[in-house]
């Protein structure tokens, strides 16, 4: 085979390469990267147009407080999904943490202690998830966290005798239920946690490792990234998020119940997926996960305001998930086309 068969590129190639930054696929790609935010904007405008109540401060405060738990769970679920994982146990973990918190309150009336108990319970469950997954060499996190979904819910029912346990320290009630003006405390909590997560993923070595592990676990291992610890850590953070969710829920309802957080894991996963994170790992953005959570919150709220049959809500949210992922599929196609363009003109 002659090695000079390739010839020289046509003179116009460099022109095309220069133009390719602003051609149609690139523009489409840019639009798609803000796709989730665009979808949220459309939903918000539609809701505001259809219901005069939507943009009142009281309703916005409502949406924010109803979305807070989903948003916090979604922030951590995002990290899990970035590592190619999934955490199905967060809803049950939230219930267990809340029940433990309520039981602790039954013995000592101490806000910090009750909060610490809930956070510690959440993290402990997450640690078990991560540790058994990694060192028990389970084939997929789906299995471990599905098992934990069952185990944690069972523990919550068992410890509480199947009944809600009422009573929470005043500080917990304030976090869950009170507001500064019309802005609920929980919204500030979400904002703070989102900023921390953003800092972790963009600027902290550990956060960069989370993305490296998700992008290529083998290469990460060869690059001396502590892959196992990174994987365990995201499940611990997901458990911590469940614990924080427990504080908010228990505070709002002044007690812990074994029925808290039912299907919350699916809301969190839906929010992350609507936000464009990929189950193939390595890709996802904090802002977009928040947008996904807000989208779910806004859709539910708007349908309530408009007196739409409540049974329609899950259908609409399902359709939104499919649309959002379809958008993502389109984005991947465009990226592929860009790659071909680049290959042709490199």
């Amino acid at each position: 085979m002659a090695s000079d068969a390739g010839g020289t590129p046509p003179a116009a190639a460099s022109d095309v390469a220069r133009r390719s930054r602003t051609d149609l696929p690139s523009l489409g790609l840019a639009a798609m990267r803000v796709g989730p935010a665009l979808m949220l904007l459309i939903v918000v405008i539609a809701a505001a147009t259809l219901s005069p109540v939507f943009f009142t401060t009281r309703n916005v405060g409502n949406v924010l407080s109803q979305t807070a738990v989903i948003a916090i769970l979604a922030l951590a679920q995002l990290l899990v999904i970035v590592t190619r994982g999934i955490d199905l146990s967060v809803g049950s973990n939230l219930a267990l943490s809340a029940v433990v918190g309520a039981l602790v309150f039954g013995t000592v009336d101490s806000g910090p202690l009750v909060i610490a108990a809930m956070l510690a319970t959440g993290m402990a469950v997450g640690l078990v998830n991560g540790a058994v997954l990694v060192w028990g060499r389970l084939p997929h996190p789906f299995i471990m966290t599905l098992a934990m979904l069952s185990i944690a819910r069972g523990l919550a029912l068992w410890l509480s005798g199947g009944q809600p346990i009422s009573g929470m320290p005043e500080s917990v009630q304030r976090i869950g239920g009170e507001a500064i003006g019309w802005l609920p405390y929980s919204a500030f909590l979400v904002a703070g946690l989102a900023l921390l997560t953003l800092l972790l993923t963009k600027a902290v070595v550990w956060g960069r490792w989370i993305f490296a592990v998700g992008g290529n676990p083998d290469a990460a291992r060869r690059a001396a990234v502590p892959v196992n610890s990174v994987v365990v850590s995201v499940y611990v953070l997901s458990g911590l998020a469940a614990g924080i969710g427990a504080v908010i829920n228990a505070g709002r309802l002044n007690g812990g119940s074994p029925t808290f957080g039912e299907l919350a894991e699916l809301d969190a996963i839906a929010a992350v997926v609507i936000g464009g994170a990929s189950f193939h790992g390595g890709r996802g953005h904090v802002g977009n996960a928040l947008v996904g959570a807000l989208m779910i919150g806004v859709i539910r709220n708007a349908m309530n305001l408009l007196n739409v049959n409540a049974f329609l809500q899950p259908i609409v949210i399902g359709v939104v998930i499919v649309l959002a992922v379809e958008l993502d599929v389109l984005r991947e196609r465009l990226e592929e086309r860009l790659r071909i363009i680049q290959a042709a003109h490199s």
Binding site: R208, W209, A212, D218, A220
Partner: protein
């Protein structure tokens, strides 16, 4: 090509068994600075095992690895890297979701402040991007946008990024496993030029390849392996080409 002094890398009496299979049987090779050594052989000849032993993925059962005449122990990938040995595997080991700078520095990030545990430090993103850009410029690897995830680059560019990453951190030896296997003619050309640049920068380069044209073009010496042994060492020239091929397939007289 001065042959004086001990070689940058010397493998002496390398032996490696996997159960009953003898993958390497008393293998000796030398790699010298400013030289490209081609490692040739059919599938299963032991080339991959040999480079994995040098780059710390496998451990030799017997034999030694020497660098500049001193015995060293590349017992893990990290140990090999700290000896200045960088390896570009066939799968490239790139992070497709990350940009070139993040790929270069994954697992060895530039960080601050030093008093924090490594995982909790902040990454010095701008410094890493600048250093990466400088290496790519020096090696004449053209990437239009350093903010692009490498998964969006062409096959040749990805290969070039992987080779450049190895070059950026290798102080002694760069090992390349089938660097042109997945590439078209023009992309292969770029990567071959890049390999010659590494050689000219004074690194010892070891290339495993089946592409005889490419071997003839860039290698200063060719070591042929068969069934875990070295069966010949030649200077690749048009006259020796047939001899090399028959050594590989085992049909020599």
């Amino acid at each position: 090509m001065t042959a004086s002094g001990p070689p940058a890398l010397g493998v002496r009496g390398a032996t490696k068994r996997f159960g009953a299979v003898v993958a390497l049987d008393d293998v000796d090779i030398d790699a010298r600075r400013g030289e490209v050594l081609a490692l040739l052989g059919d599938n299963g000849a032991g080339k991959s095992t040999l480079i994995k032993c040098i780059s710390g993925v496998h451990r030799l059962d017997a034999g030694t690895v020497e660098m500049d005449g001193v015995a060293v122990d590349p017992g893990s990938p990290a140990a090999a890297r700290s000896l200045g040995i960088e390896t570009v595997y066939q799968d490239l080991a790139l992070f497709d979701n990350l940009d070139p700078a993040a790929n270069f520095y994954a697992g060895r990030e530039m960080t601050a402040p030093r008093w924090l545990p490594r995982g909790l430090r902040l990454v010095r993103r701008r410094a890493m991007v600048e250093a990466t850009a400088a290496v790519l410029r020096r090696l004449e690897v053209g990437v239009a946008d350093l903010g692009t995830a490498v998964g969006l680059l062409s096959g040749g560019q990805r290969q070039a990024i992987a080779v450049a990453r190895a070059a950026a951190f290798a102080t002694n030896i760069v090992i390349l496993d089938e660097p042109t296997a997945a590439l078209g003619v023009r992309e292969s050309r770029h990567v071959l030029d890049l390999i010659l640049r590494l050689r000219d920068e004074g690194l010892a380069v070891i290339v495993v390849s089946h592409a005889m044209d490419h071997v003839m073009e860039i290698a200063n010496r060719a070591v042929v392996m068969r069934r875990g042994r070295t069966v010949g060492e030649l200077i690749p020239r048009p006259e020796t080409r047939q001899q090399i091929v028959s050594l590989i397939v085992g049909g020599d007289g």
